[in-house]
């Protein structure tokens, strides 16, 4: 099992990037608006229970069943709240579209999920990192992913997420870390025995030290040839490791393994 990236809470409320920050803002905004509907109930219920308890002797009108003003309020207020929330939903959903790139020049990384490992491919540099994602802080990350196994779901809670990765299809997740640091990421979709340990560490570094750090991590690493990849596919968590040298169309070939050459891109674009 991979080691956790520190014991601090890792949810999106501890946001460390623009996506999670926006999600957090959205979260509290909704809670605030919902209070309009919920708080009156919490205030009114004890009063009503006390005033109209049997034996209290307050007004008893067993046939009372309608009041125009109350009717307007109980339909009108929820409709207004939902209307407001609907507008914010529309805005935030588009702002938080996981396919929307962050910044003009996001770093493109490809991700292949095996049943127990995350294989991050850096197509520009022809290197791969297993269970470790290296990103430059302050610059967008465009993560294109597919699965070479069961359906899984990728999230880095403090940065944002999540999106499913499925065999024969390409899905996309755009994230960004504001500052250098270690952030835990994981698969959230139950994928078998190794599921609890199906985690990776996202390491954000200062942009100018990114290349050096990547070179450091992949220095002297073996090539990700078919033999090495088959070993990664075998059962069990293989832990953080690195590969230098991979076929330029490695990612596409994993997709085409299931989708066939013609349909891969077509399906992904849906």
């Amino acid at each position: 099992m991979s080691a956790p990236a520190g014991a601090e809470p890792s949810g999106f409320l501890w946001a460390a990037g623009p996506v999670a920050e926006m999600q957090r803002a959205h979260f509290f905004q909704i809670v605030g608006w919902m209070a309009v509907v919920v708080v009156p109930l919490f205030l009114a219920l004890p009063v009503i229970l006390w005033r109209y308890r049997a034996g209290a002797g307050d007004t008893y009108r067993p046939e009372w069943q309608f009041n125009r003003l109350a009717e307007w309020a109980i339909w009108g207020i929820p409709i207004l709240v939902v209307a407001v929330l609907g507008v914010t939903l529309w805005r935030y959903t588009h702002a938080l579209d996981p396919y929307a790139p962050l910044g003009p020049d996001p770093l493109e990384v490809q991700l292949v999920l095996t049943q127990d490992d995350f294989v991050f491919l850096y197509p520009g540099q022809d290197v791969a990192l297993v269970d470790r994602l290296l990103i430059p802080a302050g610059r967008g990350l465009r993560l294109r992913m597919t699965s070479d196994s069961v359906m899984q779901s990728v999230i880095i809670p403090r940065l944002g997420g999540q999106v499913y990765a499925m065999a024969g299809m390409v899905t996309e997740l755009n994230l960004q870390a504001d500052a250098p640091g270690l952030y835990q990421g994981r698969n959230t979709q139950y994928s078998g025995r190794g599921f609890p340990g199906h985690v990776f560490t996202a390491e954000a570094v200062a942009p100018d030290s990114f290349d050096a750090r990547l070179a450091e991590l992949t220095e002297g690493a073996p090539a990700l040839d078919p033999g090495a990849y088959d070993r990664l596919l075998s059962f069990g968590d293989h832990g953080p490791r690195a590969y230098a040298g991979l076929a330029p169309d490695f990612f596409e070939r994993v997709v085409e393994k299931y989708a066939g050459p013609l349909h891969a891109m077509e399906k992904a674009s849906e």
Partner: protein
């Protein structure tokens, strides 16, 4: 009480006493047919998606379907609906069961002919085109859609055979009559479903 008391073919003057029970029973059967139609609707929807995205390099609809055989199947099934209509008229207007049994027999034979042709198509697809359901997602849903319809037609024919025995044993009294009316609805529904298959699967499949 009016004569038009429940949906479907009314019993008219022949069987006023069972109207109340019939109304409820036939209404319930319509609802059953509706839920069955939901099943077929979902099969059609899945087919619409998978016949495009699920070909997976295997044979596509245009490579497989034969208009001629499907046309014969359509004619057999449509005719069988007509002959069951004749059986229903015999049920409504005649006390004896002879004509009713005759038309049911014709319907049964037409249904059997349909099943044979359909099964022959499948055999041909597997042996000549190497297109068994295991080949691709498209073929999986094709066989499931047509197979579900096939199973329904088979069930209808077993039902028909049982009803022939019941006619011989009980005559066309109340419950038997009601069962025949439900069988008629069932059989006509299968026709409607087949028209859907013929249009959306076969015709659209071979259309250029």
């Amino acid at each position: 009480m009016t004569d038009h008391h429940h949906p479907g073919l009314n019993l008219g003057h022949t069987d006023r006493s069972t109207h109340a029970a019939a109304e409820e029973m036939i209404f319930g059967f319509w609802i059953f047919l509706m839920s069955d139609m939901v099943l077929f609707a979902l099969l059609f929807a899945t087919y619409a998606a998978m016949s495009v995205h699920g070909v997976a390099g295997g044979p596509a609809p245009a490579d497989l379907f034969e208009l001629k055989s499907a046309l014969y199947q359509t004619l057999l099934l449509l005719t069988s609906s007509f002959t069951f209509g004749m059986a229903s008229l015999a049920l409504k207007y005649r006390k004896d069961t002879g004509r009713l049994l005759f038309w049911m027999g014709v319907t049964f034979l037409l249904g059997a002919g349909f099943l044979v042709l359909e099964a022959r198509d499948w055999v041909k697809m597997v042996t000549e085109h190497n297109a068994p359901p295991q080949r691709s997602g498209f073929l999986s849903i094709y066989y499931l859609l047509t197979g579900t319809h096939f199973a329904h037609v088979s069930a209808g024919m077993i039902w028909m055979a049982v009803m022939a025995v019941q006619l011989a044993v009980f005559g066309n009294d109340g419950p038997v009559k009601l069962r025949l009316m439900r069988l008629a609805l069932f059989w006509h529904m299968l026709d409607v479903v087949w028209i859907g298959i013929f249009t959306f699967v076969i015709l659209l499949g071979v259309a250029p």
